[in-house]
């Protein structure tokens, strides 16, 4: 039977689950006694086990990075533009592992999972996890899969932070670190946006202190608002201008507050609506906290150069000109620290109109450089 999928797609993929029985001690001091991680793999692990690439997802991402779950799937995984045969992360060469992080809501243990201590969903009782915790849990997944050293750890945005943390926490286990549209820590403005998103969720009457599942409801409005705020920061002013301008849904203004009048309003509501139907509010809170807390240099008096001194990986850092959420200047901080620490690093500042979202978009120059970098990795 001929494949219904494009030839440069990894095709049909099935998520896998790994159970971990050994407790994981988290940065907050609490232990996760028993947990599971959901992941997907693309390509084949070679005999030397030297061609494995870890994909770290961003705030709302998950393990489904490439391919399709069924022949009826309308859309492939979230980073299908970069993962597949002949693509930037070439699955003819690499064995790609993509997981859903701890605290997520797509199958890995998270706030919606049953707390073995109470028999009820964790809800707000799920511990706050950090980027370091994620990296530790990912290292256990690597152990389970028999991967001693990643050929590369790759991620965009919050995923780039995990890639960076990998090079710091497990220097011997990362050959290459690719951090795209990322930052060494959040700015006050970044944290402020996250706080608005959290307040939108926390103040929704249906939130019930995080135990909404027990009440049989979800804080839909809060989650929707949080996503709408987030979405504005992922796009550039230019991108929004080009996409929507001041375009109207109807022919004339209604002079009221409840109609959806501007195209951009309609778009944001649609995005918020769609997101609130598929994402867990507690997970959203956790992800924003992990972002806020990330600051690997804090352990070295804020000295990022010293923080990166022990890293053994080669680095590739990429930013996008109109990204104001994680601007090129933030990527430059990483690059400058790596140069000062004497690490191998290449840096690209890609001209792109799409803002922070650009890292998910197949921009020719970005894909070409990304592919060139990945292709030169020795396996």
């Amino acid at each position: 039977m001929p494949s219904v999928f494009p030839t440069d797609s990894v095709g049909l993929v099935t998520p896998l689950t790994w159970h971990f029985g050994e407790p994981l001690t988290l940065a907050c001091g609490r232990d996760l006694v028993d947990y599971q991680l959901v992941y997907e793999t693309y390509g084949e692990l070679n005999a030397a086990r030297s061609n494995a690439v870890l994909i770290c997802h961003a705030l709302s991402g998950n393990h489904h990075a490439a391919g399709f779950h069924s022949e009826d799937d309308r859309k492939p995984g979230w980073w299908d533009s970069c993962i597949g045969p002949g693509k930037a992360i070439d699955t003819n060469r690499f064995f790609v592992v993509s997981l859903n992080n701890l605290g997520g809501c797509n199958g890995s243990t998270g706030p919606a999972s049953i707390n073995p201590a109470t028999g009820k969903p964790f809800g707000a009782d799920f511990p706050v996890v950090t980027v370091e915790d994620w990296v530790n849990s990912q290292a256990r997944l690597a152990d389970a899969l028999g991967i001693q050293r990643w050929a590369a750890v790759v991620g965009g945005s919050l995923g780039g932070m995990q890639a960076l943390q990998w090079s710091i926490s497990y220097p011997e286990r990362v050959a290459h670190c690719v951090a795209i549209a990322s930052a060494p820590k959040l700015s006050a403005q970044n944290i402020a946006f996250n706080e608005v998103a959290r307040q939108a969720i926390l103040s929704d009457p249906e939130f019930h202190g995080g135990h909404f599942r027990e009440q049989g409801v979800i804080p839909k409005r809060g989650l929707m608002l949080a996503r709408m705020v987030g979405h504005i920061t992922y796009l550039s002013d230019d991108a929004m201008g080009q996409k929507f301008g001041r375009g109207l849904k109807s022919e004339k203004l209604n002079y009221d507050f409840h109609s959806v009048e501007f195209q951009v309003e309609s778009y944001l509501r649609y995005q918020g609506e769609e997101f609130s139907g598929r994402f867990d509010a507690n997970t959203y809170l956790l992800m924003t906290k992990a972002l806020d807390y990330f600051d690997p240099a804090a352990a070295h008096d804020g000295d990022l150069v010293r923080t990166l001194e022990n890293a053994k990986a080669d680095f590739c850092v990429i930013s996008f000109t109109t990204d104001w959420r994680f601007s090129p200047a933030r990527s430059r901080e990483i690059v400058d620290a790596l140069v000062a620490a004497g690490k191998n690093v290449s840096y690209l500042e890609v001209e792109a109109a799409q803002g922070h979202d650009a890292f998910l978009i197949p921009i020719p120059r970005y894909l070409h450089a990304f592919r060139s970098y990945m292709n030169r990795i020795e396996i």
């Binding site: 590739c316 690059v335 070409h368 060139s372």
Partner: protein
């Protein structure tokens, strides 16, 4: 390898740490890495050149020299080099000062506007010289700060820099007796190695 790069590599000690301003496609850095155990970084703004550097596996950083080099620490490199770019930057004097802040030594190459052909072109035609080697016209040239060897050496004196080596060559980077005797008249390209006055 490009002839001027072949001359430059001899001035770069094995195992040194090099910053190449305007590294092009990374040819020199790749050669130095493979043959002299040099670790280094290239700065470049042209997307095609950057892509080529990445393919070669050398460290390339997208950075515009005209926006400053303040992100590099003082004394953080053994050699800072810049080939055929001095005449294209906004402020050659500031770039030169920065190069010697960052590196112990600098290697700089640039075309000599005092070469007899340029002088003759200007005298005979009364117009800005255009040649096979410098094919631009005055209004579209990226080379906005032409100078002669004498001009450059005057700038070095002003900044109290020491000229350690200098070579005047023709556009095929051949060294000749005549260009040694009358460099400012007969040398087409200058290759200079300079250091701070206190450097040994």
């Amino acid at each position: 390898m490009r002839a001027d790069l072949d001359i430059i590599q001899e001035w770069i000690p094995a195992g040194s740490r090099v910053l190449d301003l305007g590294c092009g496609d990374g040819e020199l850095l790749a050669w130095l890495r493979d043959n002299k155990q040099v670790s280094g970084y290239g700065l470049e703004i042209d997307p095609d050149n950057i892509a080529r550097c990445i393919e070669r596996g050398i460290n390339v950083i997208e950075q515009d020299l005209d926006k400053g080099l303040g992100n590099f620490a003082s004394d953080s490199f053994d050699v800072v080099l810049m080939t055929q770019a001095l005449q294209a930057v906004d402020r050659p004097d500031e770039v030169l000062r920065e190069m010697l802040r960052i590196g112990r030594q600098c290697i700089i190459t640039f075309p000599n506007f005092g070469h007899w052909r340029c002088r003759w072109h200007l005298i005979r035609h009364g117009r800005m010289p255009v040649s096979e080697f410098l094919p631009y016209t005055w209004y579209n040239t990226p080379n906005i700060h032409f100078c002669t060897f004498k001009d450059f050496e005057a700038l070095c004196r002003e900044q109290h820099l020491r000229v350690l080596d200098r070579l005047a060559v023709d556009h095929q980077h051949r060294d000749s007796l005549s260009s040694r005797l009358w460099p400012n008249l007969l040398g087409e390209i200058g290759i200079y190695r300079v250091s701070r006055p206190d450097a040994t």
